[in-house]
Assembly symmetry: C2
Homo-oligomer: 259 residues x 2
DNA sequence: AGATCAAGTTTCACTATTTGAAACAAGATC
DNA sequence: GATCTTGTTTCAAATAGTGAAACTTGATCT
């Protein structure tokens, strides 16, 4: 599940040090980061210093710990507005949510993983960022499989390399082979399903959003086995398709970074 | 209003190139960035290439434009969870919102500006990121002034240097002097007010959240002149104070990056 | 079609920054 | 007060960054 990016010089290395800190879900000491780092002490030390100066990290001198910096939040806001599908999909998602009344996720691909950029749900006025910015696996989520199914062979192979195939539930695909078989079905049918592959009791139907034949994102409707059967998911094919088409249409007019 | 960070080597320069792209609120061509850049053509070119490789930027070969990369969204999610006040303030904000029924903002300071990290509002089930990640001026917002009023002289001077003093409305402070006078009042009273200084018709009451005497954030309750008078704002002093105290209390137990 | 121009990309000798082993400092712990 | 752990600084060698200029590509004009 390791996300590897090519190492362009100092910038690439410094960013990989930043990811090290991000991987901890709490403020960390220098020595903790060092243990997980491929860099020598002095080098890592200078990286963290630089990142702190730049506001990508924060340093608390009292506790002697580093945590992720707020400058990232500001930059992400720009990214989210400028190049995610979320802003142009707002109205469509509102409408779809009004129609189906189930949890809805809008996702894109990032480094072989699924990145959630927007969500509608009944439960509480959700903490912002709780879902936007969150990542999930591609090989065992509805949105992930929907996008994978639309990739050309070369891109698909590259993406498959990045999958962890961790066995989340008894229904999770164990390897690339069985996954590929399902991807063909998804291609033929135009919809993908999550049949408790990621979390027990959670199922969903999803569909890719295409621009010039390439997947730029995916939309899913999620429910639980307690409330619905697999067959029930198909009731939402129509509104889901319509929403996907509307987002694709809106994306056409907006200069859009494709996968 | 230029946000200047010290330039630590290549990383700093590359990040300042990233900010150039962020400043445009749309995908941009290389030449457009170049016009606003202090770097020579070849240098900027390499920066944008590196940033693109790293996923901090996206490049659309069809349109020949750069936009902010989705990796930032992922990193920001980590930052927001790890070092913003938002996660620990959820319940407090829910309670406060239930009590006052007005728009609520939770903000922190970043590079002399106000950074909104959480919000509660009646209108729509929150667009994520719409407010979280957004920045605003410190010198003419309730949250901004509340935090400025708690700074020691040296830090305050540094922060004032970064203020633009753009005249948003007829009520906006025109310079550091009149602002300082108000900051003393705020210090004495413990509450700050926005009296249509940022937007005509919008007023608010705000209070800083302190940890070890230093402001780590601020909380505000916003309304309009159409619905409430300045005096009405004082009705919310009690619930606002309680919420601020509760957040400060929660922050104490969590290792927290101070300003 | 050919000429002209603008936008983007590559080259390469020159420079400046990064690197990391090792020495050093500052607290904690025994 | 000796020892260990954690964090910080140093400095010569190694590497990566710099940017003027040349080049490529594709659009626009005559």
């Amino acid at each position: 599940m390791n996300i590897v990016r090519e190492n362009d010089g100092t910038v690439g290395k410094a960013l990989s040090a930043l990811e090290l800190v991000a991987a901890f879900e709490r403020p960390v000491r220098f020595s903790e980061v060092l243990e997980h780092s491929p860099y020598p002490k002095a080098t890592l030390y200078r990286f963290l210093q630089t990142l702190t100066n730049q506001g990508l990290l924060q340093y608390d001198p009292d506790q002697g710990v580093y945590s992720m910096g707020m400058r990232l939040v500001r930059l992400a806001h720009a990214a989210w507005r400028q190049s995610s599908l979320a802003p142009i999909s707002r109205d469509v998602l509102d409408t779809l949510y009004a129609q189906v009344g189930q949890t809805i996720h809008l996702a894109q691909m990032d480094a072989g993983q699924v990145l959630y950029v927007e969500k509608r749900t009944a439960i509480r006025p959700v903490e912002m960022f709780s879902q936007a910015g969150k990542v999930g696996p591609a090989y065992c989520t509805g949105v992930g499989k929907a996008m994978l199914a639309c990739l050309d062979d070369v891109t698909l192979e590259a993406a498959l390399q990045k999958q962890a195939f961790y066995q989340h539930t008894q229904f999770t695909h164990a390897d690339a082979e069985t996954l590929k078989t399902e991807l063909s079905q998804i291609q033929a049918e135009g919809f993908s399903y999550d049949r408790e592959e990621h979390e027990t009791g959670i199922i969903c139907i999803a569909k890719a959003i295409l621009l010039k034949g390439r997947p730029i994102g995916a939309l899913s409707i999620t429910t639980t086995t307690a409330r619905h059967s697999f067959d029930d998911l198909n009731e939402w094919k129509q509104p889901l398709t319509k929403a996907v088409e509307q987002i694709a249409q809106a994306a056409k007019n907006w200069q859009f970074p494709t996968l």
